[in-house]
Symmetry: C2
Subunit: 90 residues, 2 copies
């Protein structure tokens, strides 16, 4: 089992209306020190796969085909191996 954590963020220079709305809301709430807010996605995916190289290839394809819009978004991911049958906690 491999667990992947993926960050999808807007590329620099791409307008972020959601971030702007949050910044305005924070300002209204009194958080006037906030200068900029950028919003992205964070995904955690569990893969039934033990080969890190294959998992890596799958992840790249998933990001390119579905999880990110490569025109306006960047992505990065980390893979972490988990035992398929975790030991009982001590």
């Amino acid at each position: 089992m491999i667990k992947a954590t993926i960050h999808v963020t807007l590329k620099p220079g791409i307008l972020d209306p959601q971030g702007r709305a949050i910044r305005q809301s924070l300002d209204t709430l009194g958080f006037s020190a906030v200068r900029d807010v950028r919003v992205g996605k964070f995904l955690e995916i569990e893969l039934q796969e033990d080969d890190p190289a294959r998992a890596d290839a799958h992840l790249k394809a998933m990001c390119e085909q579905l999880l990110a819009n490569p025109v306006i978004e960047s992505y990065r991911y980390e893979l972490e191996r988990h035992p398929s049958h975790p030991a009982a906690p001590s």
Copy 2:
């Protein structure tokens, strides 16, 4: 200037319909090794603040009041100090 990176995720056990939809789409695309998908938010906030303790207090309040729904979501954040007037790249 302090830069905060914030992760907001659904608490364990809370149904994640967006994650389920993504898992089904990935399955349709042929990624049958995917076992589970959980979707969260990732925010980057720039604060005009130099005191880490105050920035930390602000961040906690922002998360509790606006960025996360503490009933169903968890949050975590990291703070990173940036020079207010960054040096020119060498």
